[in-house]
Amino acid sequence: MKRAFLGEFEEVVLLTVAILDESAYGVTVTQEIEQKTGRAVGFSTVHTTLQRLEEKGFLSSQMGGATAERGGRRKRFFMVTAAGRKALSEVKQIREQLWDSLPPQTLQLMGS
C-alpha cells in the first residue's frame, strides 16, 4: 500500500490530538494549537483537517456525552489510531535522520 502522506498542518493537528489524549475535540485542539504554536488557526481549518485525518485512517472519533454549556450539544472526541501513531513516528524518524545527516559546520552556523 502507498504510504499515506501527512501534510505539515495535518502533522500539527495529529500531534495535538495525541498531546490532548482523551480530551481532544474541535475546541481544545484549536486552542491548544493557538497556545502552543502561537499561530492563529481558524476553527474551520482544524475541523476539516480532523475529518481528513479520520478519512485517511489516522484518527478515530467517538461522540461524547451531552453537556449543558454548549446548548446541550454533544462533542466528538478524537483519538489517534495505530496507523496515526505509526505515521507520526515515521515523520519523526525521517526528521531525525535528516537532522543527523546535517554536516557539523552547518549545524554550528545554525547556532545549536
Binding site: 474541535g26 481549518t45 454533544r74 466528538r76
Partner: protein, 872 residues
C-alpha cells in the same frame, strides 16, 4: 452574554453537513464564548461568521469512511475514461463510424454553406455607416389596374428635396446610373463602370479614403477612383493630382482614391465617382432637364439620407405628392413619391401582384428551410443509427451495471460517445466547407469566406453540435441506461415491438424531404429550359452589339458600315435605341382609329435603322420591312403581333397611327421579338426609323468565318473610326443567357442540395439496412435452412423500406405540388407540372432505396447459415 449572529446559525443549519452539524455547532458555541473573553465581542462575532462560511457544505465535506462511493462522474479521469471507450467503439465499428461522421459532416457542411450564404445576403449594404438612414427616392402609380414602381426621377427632384424639405434630409444626392465609361490616362484605356454623383455623396456613403479627401467631388472637374481602378490606370504611382479623361472628352483631375466597395453592397460596380455638375454641364439633355426644371423627364436616381430625428415613413408621407404637384396631368395614375430604405434594397427589391414587398428574401427563406432540412436529415441518420446500434449494446449495459456502474456513469458514457462523433463531424465539416467554398462562390456569384473571427459563427456551430450530440445521444443514454441488469443478462430482455416505430417515422420524414427536393429541382430546371427554348422572334447566333458611345461613331456611321461589310466578316449592321435583349423605353400618347378615348396606351418604343430587320432576322407576319426605296418609311412603323392585339386593329398594314400628333403609317407586322424578360409576356412594341436615337450598333457576323478572325477585322475598322475607345462588344447569345442567371443559380444550388439530401438519406438507409440485416442474421439462417431462396430473403428485408419510401412519396407529392405551384405563379411564361415529373421522382427514390438496401440484404442472404447458427 450575547448570542452569535443568527444568520450564521441559519446558514450552518441549512448548508452545513448533516453528519457533523451537531458537534460543529457545539464547538463553535464554545469557541464563541472563549473568543468573547479573549478578543472581545466584535471580533468574536466576526470570527464566528467567518468560520460558519468556511464550514458550509461545498467547502467542508465529510465522507463516510466506511461507505464506498463511486467516483464523481464528471471528474477529469472519468471523462478521459469515457472518451477512451468512445474512441475505441468508433474504431471498432469503422463502417458505422464512417457513415455517422461522414453523413453528419455533410449535413453540417450544407447547413454551414447555406448559413454563410444567408449571412451574406442579410449583411448586404451594412458596409455603409449610415445604412439605416439612407434611402432611394421612388414612386409608384396605378396603370390599367396594376401598381407599378419606378426608381427613375426627374432632374429637379434633388433640388426640390434639398430646399423645400431641408429639415428632413442630411444629404440629397443626384446620381446617374452605373454605366460603362471609358477612362483614359495616356495610353492606358479601360472601360469601367461608374456614376456621376452630387458632391456630398462620398460623405453619405462614408467612403474609406486611401488618399485624397471625401470632399474631392466639390471641384466640378474632379474624379474619385476606387483602389482597383487607380491601380489599373496608374500602377504604383500616386494618382492624386493626375489629369485624365472620361469618355475621351472630359478632362478631370484625380482628387482621391477610395477603398473598393465590398462585394455585398449595391454599389459594388461603382468603380469611380465623377461630379454631377460635370455631367450636367457636359450633357446637353441633362443640362436642359436641370436648367428648364423639366419634371417630365424621368432619367436619374435620387439617393437621400434622412435627418437623424426623423423616420422613413414620416418623410415619405411629406414628399408623397411632389410628382402630382409638378405633373398634374399624371393624376390618373395616382403617383406617389416615397423612400425605399437601404435595408430593403437587396432583399426586397420587387413587389408581388398584391403590392407586398418581395424579392430575394424568398430565396433566403427557401434556402434557410432547405438547410434546416438537410441538417435535419443528417441528424435523423445519426439518431437512427445510434439508437439502432445501441440496442446491440444492451448486453454491455447489463454487464456494466452488474459490475457496479451507476446510471449517471452510463448516461455520461453514451453522451460522450455521441458528442465525440459530433465533434469529429463539426471539424470535418469546416474542412469540407473550406474546400467547397470556391466552387460554391462561383455557382452562387458570391465572395463568401468562413467567418473565422465571428463569435456568432462559432457560437452557432458549437451550440448546434452540442445540441445534436445531446439529442442524438439521449435515446441510448436515457433509455438503455434504465435497463435492469438481471433481465438483460438473463436473455429475457426484448426490445419492444414498437421500438422501431420512431425510426420508421424518421425515415419517412427523410424521404419526404428528399423526394420533395427532387421534384422541386426537376421543375425549376424545366422552367428554365422552358423559358430558354422559348422562341425569341429573331436570330441570336452571330449577333453582337457594340455601344455607340462617342460622337465619332455617329458622324461616320455610313462609312463605318460600308467598310465593315467590305471586310466580309460582317453580313449586316444597323443601329437601334436598345440592344435586342433590352426594352428600355416605353411611351404613351399613341392614337389610332377605333381607339377607346379612355384607353391609357403604353407601348415599348424602339428606334432602328433601315438594316435592322435584316441584321436581327425579323419574321414578318404581314407587310414588309423598312426599305430605302420608300422615302415615306421615315414616318413608318413596324408593330409586333402583341401590339396589334393590344390595339385591337384588324389588318393594320397601311393604317395610320398618331404619336403625339405626328402621323405614322404601319408598314409591317413582325412576329413577337422577345426583348425583355423571358418569363414575361412580350410587351406591345413599335419600331420606328430614327438615325438620331441610336445607342447601340448591331452587327451580324458572317457565320461561315471564324469568329475570332472576324472580330479582329471588325476591331481594326472600329479603331480607325473610333480611336481612343476600347473596342467592347457583347454577344447577344451571352446577354440573353444572363437573363436566366438568377434562376439558373437557384436551380444549381437546389439540385446540389437535393443530391446531397438524397445521398444523406441513402447513407442512413444503408446503415439501417445493415443493422436490420445483422439483427436478423439468425432468423435468416433458420429461413435458409428451411429452404428460403436468396430472393425470398432479399424481398423480406427490402419490403419494409420500400413501404416507407412509398409512404414518403405519398406525403411529398402534395407538399411539392403546393409549393411549386405557387412558385410557378410568379412567372407568366411557365412550364406545366406534368404527372411524370412526380412519377420519375418517386421511382428514382425507390430505385435508390432498393439499390442501397439490396447490398445489405443480399449480403445477409448469402451468408452460410452454418456460420450464423453455430453459436446456438
Amino acid at each position: 452574554m450575547t448570542n452569535p449572529p443568527r444568520w450564521a446559525n441559519w446558514l450552518l443549519e441549512t448548508f452545513g453537513h448533516p453528519d457533523t452539524r451537531e458537534e460543529v455547532q457545539g464547538d463553535l458555541l464554545e469557541l464563541y464564548d472563549y473568543w468573547i473573553e479573549t478578543i472581545g465581542e466584535r471580533k468574536a462575532r466576526w470570527r464566528y461568521s467567518l468560520s460558519v462560511l468556511k464550514l458550509m457544505r461545498p467547502l467542508a465535506t465529510r465522507k463516510q469512511a466506511d461507505d464506498y462511493s463511486p467516483p464523481f462522474f464528471g471528474s477529469p479521469s472519468m471523462i478521459r475514461n469515457y472518451l477512451k471507450i468512445a474512441l475505441r467503439n468508433l474504431v471498432k465499428n469503422k463502417a458505422y463510424s464512417f457513415i455517422n461522421i461522414g453523413g453528419l459532416a455533410m449535413g453540417m457542411t450544407v447547413a454551414m454553406l447555406i448559413g454563410l450564404w444567408i449571412y451574406d445576403e442579410l449583411s448586404f449594404d451594412k458596409y455603409f455607416q449610415n445604412y439605416d438612414r439612407i434611402a432611394k427616392v421612388m414612386q409608384n402609380g396605378t396603370f390599367n389596374g396594376e401598381v407599378f414602381h419606378g426608381e427613375y426621377n426627374p432632374a429637379p427632384m434633388g433640388q426640390e428635396l434639398r430646399t423645400v424639405y431641408a429639415d428632413d434630409f442630411t444629404h440629397v444626392i443626384m446620381s446617374s446610373w452605373t454605366r460603362d465609361h471609358i477612362l483614359s490616362y495616356g495610353d492606358n484605356k479601360f472601360t469601367k463602370t461608374g456614376n456621376y454623383l452630387s458632391a456630398d455623396a462620398p460623405d453619405m456613403l462614408t467612403l474609406k479614403m486611401l488618399s485624397g479627401t471625401r470632399s474631392g467631388l466639390k471641384d466640378p472637374s474632379s474624379i474619385l477612383l476606387s483602389e482597383s481602378v487607380a491601380q489599373a490606370l496608374f500602377g504604383t504611382s500616386d494618382p492624386v493630382g493626375k489629369l485624365m479623361k472620361i469618355d475621351n472628352k472630359l478632362d478631370v483631375k484625380v482628387t482621391g482614391v477610395y477603398e473598393d466597395f465590398p462585394y455585398n453592397t449595391e454599389f459594388r460596380d461603382m468603380k469611380f465617382m465623377a461630379p454631377w455638375d460635370l455631367y450636367a454641364s457636359s450633357e446637353a439633355w441633362v443640362k436642359r432637364a436641370q436648367d428648364n426644371v423639366e419634371w417630365g423627364n424621368f432619367s436619374w436616381q435620387v439617393l437621400a439620407q434622412i435627418a437623424p430625428n426623423s423616420s422613413f415613413e414620416a418623410v415619405s408621407d411629406k414628399i408623397k405628392n411632389i410628382r402630382l404637384k409638378h405633373n398634374p396631368e399624371t393624376a390618373f395614375i395616382k403617383p406617389k413619391v416615397y423612400l425605399q430604405p437601404m435595408s430593403k434594397w437587396h432583399l426586397y427589391s420587387g413587389w408581388d401582384k398584391s403590392g407586398n414587398l418581395d424579392g430575394r428574401i424568398q430565396y433566403v427563406w427557401l434556402f434557410g428551410i432547405i438547410g434546416v432540412f438537410v441538417l435535419l436529415l443528417a441528424c435523423i441518420n445519426f439518431m437512427n443509427l445510434s439508437t439502432a446500434r445501441s440496442e446491440k449494446r444492451a448486453k454491455e449495459v447489463g454487464i456494466r451495471k452488474a459490475v457496479g456502474s451507476v446510471r449517471s456513469q452510463l448516461i455520461s458514457q453514451f453522451f460522450s460517445e455521441s458528442l465525440l462523433v459530433v465533434a469529429f463531424a463539426f471539424v470535418l465539416s469546416i474542412v469540407l466547407a473550406l474546400l467547397i467554398l470556391p466552387l460554391f462562390n462561383e455557382v452562387a456569384d458570391k465572395q463568401i469566406g468562413i467567418l473565422w473571427t465571428n463569435p456568432v459563427f462559432w457560437l452557432c456551430g458549437i451550440g448546434f453540435s452540442v445540441l445534436t450530440g445531446l439529442i442524438a445521444g439521449s435515446y441510448p443514454a436515457l433509455y438503455l441506461s434504465s435497463f435492469q441488469a438481471v433481465k438483460v443478462l438473463k436473455g429475457t430482455f426484448r426490445v419492444g415491438r414498437f421500438a422501431s416505430i420512431p425510426r420508421q417515422v424518421l425515415v419517412v420524414v427523410q424521404f419526404t424531404v428528399s423526394v420533395t427536393l427532387i421534384i422541386g429541382t426537376i421543375i425549376v430546371f424545366r422552367q428554365i429550359e422552358h423559358a430558354k427554348s422559348r422562341p425569341v422572334g429573331y436570330e441570336r447566333s452571330g449577333l453582337i452589339t457594340v455601344s455607340m458611345n462617342t460622337p465619332e461613331l455617329h458622324q461616320h456611321y455610313n462609312t463605318l458600315r460600308d467598310e465593315l461589310i467590305r471586310t466580309g466578316a460582317v453580313v449586316d449592321m444597323s443601329t437601334s435605341s436598345a440592344p435586342t435583349t433590352d426594352l428600355n423605353s416605353q411611351n404613351s400618347g399613341f392614337d389610332w382609329v377605333g381607339k377607346d378615348p379612355n384607353f391609357k396606351d403604353n407601348f415599348g418604343t424602339i428606334a432602328v435603322t433601315h438594316d435592322f430587320g435584316k441584321t436581327v432576322g425579323w419574321q414578318f407576319v404581314q407587310g414588309r420591312d423598312f426599305s430605302r426605296q420608300f422615302p415615306s418609311d421615315s414616318s413608318g412603323m413596324v408593330l409586333n403581333e402583341t401590339a396589334v392585339r393590344y390595339m385591337g386593329v384588324k389588318d393594320p398594314v397601311g393604317k395610320q397611327i398618331k404619336w403625339n400628333g405626328k402621323p405614322y403609317r404601319v408598314v409591317g407586322v413582325i412576329k413577337d421579338m422577345l426583348m425583355a424578360s423571358p418569363f414575361e409576356p412580350v410587351f406591345q412594341t413599335v419600331y420606328m426609323l430614327d438615325y438620331g436615337w441610336a445607342s447601340v450598333i448591331n452587327i451580324k457576323l458572317n457565320l461561315s468565318r471564324s469568329t475570332s478572325e472576324s472580330l479582329a477585322k471588325i476591331e481594326a475598322v472600329f479603331r480607325k473610326f473610333n480611336p481612343g475607345s476600347p473596342f467592347d462588344y457583347r454577344f447577344i447569345d451571352q446577354q440573353y443567357a444572363l437573363k436566366f442567371a438568377a434562376e439558373e443559380r437557384i436551380g444549381k444550388l437546389a439540385s446540389v442540395f437535393a443530391i446531397l439530401a438524397i445521398f444523406i438519406s441513402s447513407l442512413g438507409l444503408f446503415g439501417l439496412a445493415s443493422f436490420v440485416a445483422e439483427q436478423r442474421t439468425k432468423e435468416i439462417g433458420v429461413r435458409k435452412v428451411l429452404g428460403a431462396s436468396v430472393l425470398n430473403v432479399w424481398s423480406l428485408l427490402s419490403k419494409d423500406f420500400v413501404l416507407l419510401v412509398i409512404i414518403s412519396f405519398g406525403i411529398a407529392t402534395p407538399i411539392a405540388y403546393y409549393f411549386l405551384h405557387s412558385w410557378l405563379q410568379k412567372y407568366e411564361y411557365r412550364t406545366e407540372m406534368s404527372w411524370w415529373i412526380f412519377a420519375i421522382s418517386g421511382l428514382g427514390a425507390l430505385a435508390i432505396t432498393l439499390l442501397t438496401v439490396s447490398y445489405q440484404s443480399i449480403k445477409a442472404a448469402l451468408i452460410n447459415p452454418v456460420k450464423s447458427l453455430r453459436s446456438e
